[in-house]
């Protein structure tokens, strides 16, 4: 079968083969152990779907601390008992949780969190993307996250594939975090600064993105049916060691990330004829890997 964008199946030419040019994957694989940062277990939310599919979300307490604190409380208080994925809209979002109007808030959770849609840019060490962006004055990466910087001195996380945000009603509601969504199509960046982003899916996004789309307006499922029941949502920090997930992200301030970024912007391996000379922020996903067993 023809392989789109692959390096495989090239005839092996023993004599005159030039040095193979790096792909983004090569650059990630070449990163030294020192360039990887282990994600704290209390920042990992593990959702188990009916049938066993697992979705792992890295939380972003540096951007939406009150919503993230709520989410941790919900996970620990079994708030999501009976929750489900109830909306799957093609090229937009998969959404899940429990109807906030019908479930008593967990002890200590905040009923009306502030609008954590932006935070001050000050305090963020940003590695710039180096390509223009239609939505912000500047974009780049800070502490492993894609970020946008605005003229007013604020910063936000950005809606890329896998980004997790908080479903909400109309202003001034900001959502409690009891209903969440993940972006499963082209990054809906118009939502940046309009909704609380609380994290991103770092493993198992296909367990959401390949779900059947809902038949009702905006991809909602018919009343009484759901895309998928959720068997449990827990923080990795509270799980038995044997079931716990551990992941690392590539330090976005490291030389290894700089090399990866340069290659993403200028694909010049054998499949490519023209290097783009730039990249969209959402086409430079921050590399994540399971923590190697030796560490």
């Amino acid at each position: 079968m023809r392989q789109l964008a692959t390096l495989a199946l090239l005839p092996l030419i023993l004599a005159a083969a030039p040095p193979k040019k790096m792909t983004p994957t090569d650059a990630v694989n070449a990163a030294p152990a020192s360039a990887w940062r282990t994600i704290p277990a209390e920042d990992l939310l593990v959702m188990t779907l009916d049938g066993g599919g697992r979705v792992v979300i890295q939380l972003a307490p540096g951007f939406a601390p009150v919503h993230v604190a709520n989410i941790r409380k919900f996970a620990n208080a079994n708030y999501w008992q009976g929750a489900a994925v109830y909306r799957v809209q093609d090229n937009y979002v998969a959404q899940w949780g429990i109807n906030e109007a019908k479930r008593a808030l967990s002890a200590g959770a905040v009923a009306k969190p502030p609008a954590e849609y932006t935070r001050p840019a000050r305090g963020l060490a940003v590695t710039p993307l180096g390509s223009p962006d239609p939505y912000a004055r500047n974009v780049g990466f800070a502490n492993g996250w894609p970020v946008a910087l605005y003229k007013d001195g604020s910063a936000s996380l950005t809606h890329c594939y896998g980004t997790v945000g908080v479903g909400r009603d109309m202003h001034p509601d900001t959502g409690t975090g009891g209903e969440l969504y993940a972006a499963i199509g082209h990054g809906p960046r118009q939502l940046d600064r309009n909704i609380a982003i609380v994290g991103r899916v770092i493993s198992g996004i296909e367990n959401l993105s390949a779900l059947p789309r809902g038949s009702e307006t905006m991809g909602f499922y018919k009343e009484g049916s759901v895309a998928k029941a959720i068997n449990g949502i827990a923080l990795a920090s509270t799980m038995p060691a044997a079931e716990r997930s551990s992941f690392q992200y590539l330090d976005t301030a490291s030389p290894a990330f700089a090399r990866y970024l340069a290659i993403r912007k200028n694909r010049d391996d054998d499949f490519y004829r023209v290097a783009a000379g730039g990249a969209d922020l959402c086409n430079v996903p921050v590399p994540v890997r399971p923590t190697p067993v030796s560490q």
Copy 2:
């Protein structure tokens, strides 16, 4: 359930309600009949999947005429007998067709088409997007298609959600059109100018995007298994009238499209707190609708 980005369920305030602000959907619905262009039936490729799901692709003969001519010949000669969707890679592509190495070319088809990756920009009347782009000097819309314009005077179609391209091997191979893919994640714009784009999915993309992901490298299915068998691929122009699909796109040079574009760049309906002031090309999908029965 909380509704992300919805206008519904607002309490009806009889006295002081300000005029409702337009959503992109409102703008499309307000477009006059004169702003819609019917797609010629010979430009519609209708793929029927096992189980009945239908995927309709609008072909782009203005950008890849030789590949599109091949595709029409393949459809008419039943070249794709036994074809299948054999690759589904999350956040990238679904790919289908027949192994070109194992199937005799249809009569009149071109075995080695030219590299129809770009065309001259001259001759294209482009409505500019009006936002910066990381991949091209300028981007916009021409004859209903998203296009990119480059410094060297060339133009290309762009890889957005639903874009259909031609699977190929390494240079100088360009693929015959016998193996095709559709983008099912964040638009992989780095492929622009590196591969022949032959069209876009205008209906039924969810029949590809919600397929289970392949377990092998790059989302390929295991040898001997496929994501989905394909029951038939035909041009609408050759189908019985009763089974034929007809679609229209919104003229991208029309005032109605200009209004839609302005709203896409500045969402200010009730859900939004901050209008972006710009948009990514792939976040402005050209509106398409079934041709109204009255026309």
